[in-house]
Symmetry: C2
Subunit: 157 residues, 2 copies
DNA sequence: AATTATGGTCAATTTGATTGACTACATTGC
DNA sequence: GCAATGTAGTCAATCAAATTGACCATAATT
């Protein structure tokens, strides 16, 4: 398999492939650490739950999915021992989803692995280029979404 | 919504968001052109079918999914009038999947839209930066997969 | 010629998401 | 203050994309 193969790919395909590559490594590593029941779909949720918890509606908006989908995901993660539903302090209808201890463990492991992946990328393309890459991607995501973000630009992790 | 928000995101999240952003625009545009029945999952298949067709097994390997999944996808695309199953010239077990005229229309529209998206990105970050971005992503996808590509790095488009 | 391997489909199941219906509580507006 | 409307969450049914397992027909191997 030759490097040249990828140069001919359009940007969208490249973004897809590099995302899949990262996410595959992340989940392989999480599996090795005993977090095999965490799947790609769950990942971004953790970012919204930390540090002080979130309601289902907040998660739904953040992830760009329906509250029903969030509810099911929380069922699963609660069952696996990663999150807990707590009563909302002021709104008796609402619940707050918070991380359990095990939830915090996986969140920290995720953080560490992502940092390591980024570190290895720095070794490949250099710190400046990685910095530029991140800046450019940030700019693009921002420009293209102009305020309407988190409606359909939902991350998979 | 502030640009700063994204700078704090890790690389993996950025890749996810920028990919989603591109793919959303692509499919919005395809919908406007009357190709609303094409969904993100189908996209990368076209790249493998063009120009001279492909067998189910080839598609499965290229996409990194099972042959059964390919078969179903082809059922759907055939039903929508984008592809056709033809008899394999030498192997009586096999079939070749080729694009119909409508299939070619959507493939060309896709090409055009992706080029336009890339063009707009050039206006945002400049041609040099975009070139660098593509080179860096290519290098990373290549390095990280080292030969074992197309097994799990399956594109979603 | 018999065995094994391969290309493709059928059927059942899993995962992640959807739409629609419903309950319990909150907010608004006379 | 209470009736109308709105909102947080769940239940149920369904869809989309993929999986595993079983199977058939043809090819390749020995």
């Amino acid at each position: 398999m030759n490097h040249e193969v990828f140069s001919e790919l359009d940007l969208t395909s490249l973004l897809s492939l590099s995302f899949r590559t990262s996410i595959n490594e992340l989940h392989d590593r999480l599996s090795e650490l005993g977090f095999g029941d965490i799947r790609p779909a769950h990942g971004f949720m953790f970012k919204c739950i930390t540090p002080k918890g979130a309601t289902g509606i907040e998660l739904a908006e953040y992830l760009g999915i329906t509250k029903q989908a969030v509810s099911k995901m929380v069922d699963y993660l609660e069952n696996c021992g990663y999150v807990m539903r707590k009563a909302h302090p002021t709104d008796k209808r609402g619940k707050i989803i918070v991380l359990t201890e095990r939830g915090w463990l996986v969140a920290k492991a995720k953080e560490k692995i992502l940092t390591e992946i980024e570190q290895r990328w720095i070794e490949n393309i250099g710190a400046e280029r990685l910095q530029m890459l991140k800046e450019d991607l940030s700019k693009l995501v921002y420009k293209e979404n102009e305020g309407k973000l988190s409606l359909r630009s939902r991350p998979v992790w």
